[in-house]
Amino acid sequence: MGQGIGQILVYAAVLIALSYPLGIWMAHVYTKEKGDVVERGFLRLLGRDAATDQDWKQYGLSVVVFTIGFSVFLYGMLRLQGHLFLNPDHLPAVPWTVALNTTASFVTNTNWQYYAGEATMSYLSQMAGLAVQQFVSAGAGLAVLAAVARGISRRGGGVGLGNFWRDLYRSIVYILLPLSIVLAVVLISQGVPQTFHGHVTATTLQGAHQTIARGPVGSMISIKQLGTNGGGFYDSNSAVPFENPTPTSNFLEVLAILLIPFAQLVMFGRMVFARRHAWVLYAVCFAIFAIGVCVAFPAEQHGSAVLRQSGVNITNSASQVGGNMTDKEIRFGIANTALWATATTDVSNGSVNGGHDALTPAGGAVPLINMFLGEVEPGGVGSGVYGLIFYVLIAVFVAGLMVGRTPEWLGKKIEAREMKLAAVGALAVPTMVLVMAAVAIVTKAGLASVFNPGAHGFTETLYAYTSQSNNNGSAFAGYAATDFSTTLGTVALYFGRFFPMLAGLAIGGSLAVKKVVPASAGTFRTDGGTFGIMLLGVIALTAGLMILPALTLGPIVEGLMH
């Protein structure tokens, strides 16, 4: 296990070292006054909506209209792909319920996949449909974060939060696209295909025919990892050697999962002029990430009850990694798969490099809890931070009650309106998850999707609605697509995206017009360890307590029974 721990520690060190300068760069991108020539041309092309300083409602409207418009476009492409070009393997139209769910899934930065990419999607759908969403949904998330940060930092006067189209342009051109190009080149060098030619038929050494799917994979995998998207080209995602061929590609891909999410905390701290406070948030997120890895890695290395009782050799040695190798790949072993499972659910990525359905009860509970907390550790690109702000406000409020003062945050008074928005923002999605999972587990239509028997089947269901509602996209992949599950999932996807986003924007808009209150001796400090512990406690006591009863029916029962 020492080798695995070493790899995880090096990963953590590289993550911290790279997220810091990137965060500084990102803050610069969103605060510089003058845009480049192309930016000005692009905004002029878009017309008057791109020429104004938008208040939170206008900003939100632009995001929503853009997302819905793109949904219609993408749905059309998936339905018509059989008649369109770049379809060398002659794949037919995507069935309408799956197309609807997939559309919702990709425009909301979720990338839940009720289909097998290499056998369902034409190259056109993959690269000009789905992969485009991986850029713009991530870009929109970052844009909203920039807007919220501007609202918070606004010192008197004005309701403007910036312009969505300008922020979207900058997210993509200055952050997502350059990183994607660099990562794609490295991934292709490791063995990720990048071609417009269709599948190859090989004649194996024993004389059988083998169909090898390929396509423009590399250009998609890089943005899939960087933009907290997670939707792969192949069905088994980054477990497939064509998406993730080597330990090098694996290290870079799992680094890409957390890179922008952690960098955005640095960016946020600079934009709201509260760097120490942002480091406290960084530390809290990092602590939750570390706790997850410390649970998942030993649990998977210990192996499952079935494997231990079977008598086969699961002992870690120089010639085998051992442990729960079910649905895991040799080149990654246990440490890298546990690390990935934790990282991908700390944020709203959801890509996997091994099957989550086959994780041990404790190993599978980690990603489930991570997602249920709202993926604020540090969450999806953009969406994570405004999700985290809900908890921060609740923590500030509770602390304010303790010391008997009006709660303040970053120099602004937190009053009834902000508290309502924060409470609703933090609790609406978890509530929806529990209701949906309950409906899906007591109805015949819902039970039809369940693959594994017993408590594990319950976890599958809970995981499915937790993942879609929180826009993660990872799956206990045995959970099957039915008309019922795809439709319920579609509702979860849109609601889970827009509700917290609009609540976050509203808080930004509300704080923008508030006067600054100078800090006094009675002000509760939010830039120290006390606040960090307070915040951890609030996260555990709100969403954490909400999922506990459901956990006892799923992973806890499963763990105790064996």
Binding site: A131, Q206, S219, P241, Q320, R331, A477
Partner: protein
Amino acid sequence: MLRALLASVVAIVVSTVVLGFAYPALMTGVAQLTMSHQANGSLVMRGGKVVGSSLAAQSFSFPGYFHERPSATSPAYNPGFTTFSNLGPTNPALAQLVKQNAAAILKLEGPYNPGLTIHQIPVDAVVPSGSGIDPQISIAYANLQAKRVAAVRHLPLATVQQLIKQHTQQRTFAFFGEPGVNVLELNLAVDQQVSG
């Protein structure tokens, strides 16, 4: 509302052209020019024919070949439709599968490894891989199969063990990932050793 809609339409067109076509086309151009082997699927050729990809497992059942890990795809080892097994850690079907696979290995390898018991079978040999096309097996599983392959192919055991060593992909920088043996490459080497 109308203004936002107009802006959206333009943005949808521009982003689809730039991100959906120009970007992947650029990457494909660069990839095909500078690293076409990887970009086309790391295909393995023998006698001018494509015999597989070094990144995909294929079905080996002949006793003279090293065998792959189990696969949950349909048919097994299908790089045209990858999938997990999704068998939960307490699923009786997993217990059954492990039992079956272990029994098959004992039957196949037992005659060449006197005294072989289930405790010597490495776990990766009996559980499905993540992709269903994991091209590697553990060193332990390769070593377990070495005596059979040597006997069937009439090769000295030391030669076969040497081939395993040569086709073991070590940790990157001796640090990242886990070592494994590429089965297709190993079997090609065995074939070559036999033919000359």
